[in-house]
Symmetry: C2
Protein backbone atom coordinates (compact mmCIF):
# COMPACT_ATOMS: atom_id res chain seq x y z
CA UNK A 1 0.00 0.00 0.00
CA UNK A 2 1.39 3.39 -0.94
CA UNK A 3 1.83 6.24 1.51
CA UNK A 4 -0.82 8.42 -0.08
CA UNK A 5 -3.52 5.77 0.31
CA UNK A 6 -2.44 4.93 3.85
CA UNK A 7 -2.69 8.60 4.80
CA UNK A 8 -6.16 8.82 3.24
CA UNK A 9 -7.38 5.87 5.31
CA UNK A 10 -6.15 7.30 8.60
CA UNK A 11 -7.42 10.79 7.85
CA UNK A 12 -10.76 9.29 8.88
CA UNK A 13 -9.49 9.14 12.45
CA UNK A 14 -7.56 12.36 12.87
CA UNK A 15 -10.37 14.89 13.21
CA UNK A 16 -12.46 15.13 16.35
CA UNK A 17 -15.75 15.57 14.54
CA UNK A 18 -15.12 12.55 12.35
CA UNK A 19 -14.33 10.47 15.40
CA UNK A 20 -17.64 11.57 16.91
CA UNK A 21 -19.43 10.57 13.71
CA UNK A 22 -17.80 7.13 13.72
CA UNK A 23 -18.77 6.67 17.36
CA UNK A 24 -22.38 7.55 16.50
CA UNK A 25 -22.35 4.93 13.77
CA UNK A 26 -21.26 2.21 16.19
CA UNK A 27 -24.90 1.82 17.19
CA UNK A 28 -25.85 1.15 13.57
CA UNK A 29 -26.77 2.80 10.32
CA UNK A 30 -27.90 6.43 10.53
CA UNK A 31 -29.02 8.95 7.96
CA UNK A 32 -27.15 12.22 7.54
CA UNK A 33 -29.99 14.26 9.06
CA UNK A 34 -29.81 12.18 12.25
CA UNK A 35 -26.03 12.63 12.45
CA UNK A 36 -26.49 16.34 11.87
CA UNK A 37 -28.67 16.59 14.98
CA UNK A 38 -25.92 15.16 17.10
CA UNK A 39 -22.80 16.98 16.01
CA UNK A 40 -22.32 20.67 16.12
CA UNK A 41 -21.58 21.58 12.48
CA UNK A 42 -23.61 22.82 9.53
CA UNK A 43 -25.02 20.46 6.93
CA UNK A 44 -22.36 21.19 4.28
CA UNK A 45 -19.61 20.57 6.84
CA UNK A 46 -21.14 17.23 7.78
CA UNK A 47 -21.37 16.35 4.09
CA UNK A 48 -17.68 17.17 3.71
CA UNK A 49 -16.73 14.90 6.60
CA UNK A 50 -18.89 12.07 5.28
CA UNK A 51 -17.05 12.29 1.99
CA UNK A 52 -13.68 11.94 3.71
CA UNK A 53 -14.96 9.00 5.76
CA UNK A 54 -16.30 7.30 2.62
CA UNK A 55 -13.12 7.98 0.64
CA UNK A 56 -11.19 6.35 3.48
CA UNK A 57 -13.45 3.32 3.08
CA UNK A 58 -14.35 3.37 6.77
CA UNK A 59 -17.95 4.39 6.13
CA UNK A 60 -20.37 3.51 3.35
CA UNK A 61 -23.42 5.47 2.24
CA UNK A 62 -26.61 3.86 1.01
CA UNK A 63 -29.01 6.11 -0.87
CA UNK A 64 -32.68 5.49 -0.31
CA UNK A 65 -35.02 8.06 -1.74
CA UNK A 66 -33.94 11.43 -0.51
CA UNK A 67 -32.01 10.01 2.40
CA UNK A 68 -28.46 8.77 2.59
CA UNK A 69 -27.92 6.18 5.28
CA UNK A 70 -24.38 5.84 6.53
CA UNK A 71 -22.82 2.93 8.32
CA UNK A 72 -19.43 1.62 9.32
CA UNK A 73 -17.90 -0.58 6.61
CA UNK A 74 -16.73 -3.86 8.10
CA UNK A 75 -14.51 -4.38 5.09
CA UNK A 76 -13.01 -0.88 5.29
CA UNK A 77 -12.33 -1.31 8.98
CA UNK A 78 -10.59 -4.62 8.32
CA UNK A 79 -8.40 -2.97 5.70
CA UNK A 80 -7.51 -0.17 8.08
CA UNK A 81 -6.58 -2.69 10.76
CA UNK A 82 -4.44 -4.67 8.32
CA UNK A 83 -2.82 -1.49 7.09
CA UNK A 84 -1.99 -0.44 10.64
CA UNK A 85 -0.62 -3.88 11.46
CA UNK A 86 1.54 -4.02 8.36
CA UNK A 87 2.84 -0.53 8.90
CA UNK A 88 3.88 -1.11 12.50
CA UNK A 89 5.18 -4.68 12.42
CA UNK A 90 8.93 -4.89 12.72
CA UNK A 91 10.79 -6.53 9.87
CA UNK A 92 12.05 -10.05 10.47
CA UNK A 93 15.83 -9.97 10.92
Amino acid sequence: MDERRTAAIFKAFCDENRIKIIKLLRSGEKCACKLLEEINVTQPTLSHHMKILCDAGIVVGRKEGKWTHYSISKKGVEQAKECLAQLTTLDAE
Copy 2:
Protein backbone atom coordinates in the same frame (compact mmCIF):
# COMPACT_ATOMS: atom_id res chain seq x y z
CA MET B 1 -10.56 7.49 25.23
CA ASP B 2 -11.56 11.04 24.33
CA GLU B 3 -11.76 12.32 20.78
CA ARG B 4 -8.82 14.70 21.13
CA ARG B 5 -6.46 11.92 22.20
CA THR B 6 -7.73 9.54 19.56
CA ALA B 7 -7.12 12.17 16.89
CA ALA B 8 -3.60 12.77 18.22
CA ILE B 9 -2.79 9.06 17.97
CA PHE B 10 -3.95 8.75 14.36
CA LYS B 11 -2.26 11.98 13.28
CA ALA B 12 0.83 9.78 13.27
CA PHE B 13 -0.55 7.97 10.25
CA CYS B 14 -2.13 10.71 8.18
CA ASP B 15 0.93 12.41 6.72
CA GLU B 16 2.93 10.80 3.96
CA ASN B 17 6.31 11.73 5.39
CA ARG B 18 5.42 10.33 8.79
CA ILE B 19 4.32 7.08 7.17
CA LYS B 20 7.69 6.91 5.40
CA ILE B 21 9.44 7.47 8.72
CA ILE B 22 7.45 4.70 10.40
CA LYS B 23 8.27 2.36 7.53
CA LEU B 24 11.97 3.15 7.92
CA LEU B 25 11.75 2.29 11.60
CA ARG B 26 10.28 -1.14 10.86
CA SER B 27 13.82 -2.39 10.30
CA GLY B 28 14.81 -1.22 13.77
CA GLU B 29 16.01 1.75 15.79
CA LYS B 30 17.52 4.62 13.80
CA CYS B 31 19.00 7.96 14.80
CA ALA B 32 17.51 11.17 13.45
CA CYS B 33 20.49 11.83 11.19
CA LYS B 34 20.00 8.46 9.49
CA LEU B 35 16.28 9.15 8.96
CA LEU B 36 17.16 12.57 7.61
CA GLU B 37 19.27 10.99 4.86
CA GLU B 38 16.30 8.99 3.67
CA ILE B 39 13.44 11.43 3.59
CA ASN B 40 13.37 14.62 1.64
CA VAL B 41 12.84 17.31 4.29
CA THR B 42 15.05 19.64 6.28
CA GLN B 43 16.30 18.77 9.75
CA PRO B 44 13.82 21.00 11.62
CA THR B 45 10.95 19.51 9.63
CA LEU B 46 12.07 16.01 10.53
CA SER B 47 12.30 17.08 14.16
CA HIS B 48 8.74 18.36 13.97
CA HIS B 49 7.45 15.06 12.59
CA MET B 50 9.34 13.08 15.22
CA LYS B 51 7.63 15.13 17.89
CA ILE B 52 4.19 14.34 16.48
CA LEU B 53 5.07 10.64 16.25
CA CYS B 54 6.32 10.64 19.84
CA ASP B 55 3.30 12.57 21.11
CA ALA B 56 1.12 9.96 19.43
CA GLY B 57 3.04 7.33 21.38
CA ILE B 58 3.84 5.39 18.19
CA VAL B 59 7.55 6.18 18.33
CA VAL B 60 9.94 6.56 21.24
CA GLY B 61 13.22 8.46 21.31
CA ARG B 62 16.26 7.35 23.26
CA LYS B 63 18.94 9.96 23.84
CA GLU B 64 22.52 8.76 23.77
CA GLY B 65 25.16 11.46 23.81
CA LYS B 66 24.40 13.86 21.02
CA TRP B 67 22.25 11.37 19.14
CA THR B 68 18.59 10.57 19.51
CA HIS B 69 17.67 7.05 18.47
CA TYR B 70 14.06 6.52 17.44
CA SER B 71 12.15 3.29 17.32
CA ILE B 72 8.59 2.03 17.04
CA SER B 73 6.91 1.69 20.42
CA LYS B 74 5.35 -1.74 20.75
CA LYS B 75 3.17 -0.41 23.54
CA GLY B 76 2.07 2.64 21.57
CA VAL B 77 1.23 0.50 18.58
CA GLU B 78 -0.85 -1.81 20.78
CA GLN B 79 -2.76 1.18 22.13
CA ALA B 80 -3.41 2.47 18.62
CA LYS B 81 -4.69 -0.95 17.57
CA GLU B 82 -6.96 -1.18 20.61
CA CYS B 83 -8.18 2.35 20.01
CA LEU B 84 -9.00 1.55 16.39
CA ALA B 85 -10.76 -1.65 17.39
CA GLN B 86 -12.82 0.04 20.07
CA LEU B 87 -13.76 2.91 17.79
CA THR B 88 -14.94 0.69 14.98
CA THR B 89 -16.62 -2.17 16.79
CA LEU B 90 -20.38 -2.10 16.51
CA ASP B 91 -22.34 -1.86 19.74
CA ALA B 92 -23.98 -5.01 20.95
CA GLU B 93 -27.71 -4.87 20.29
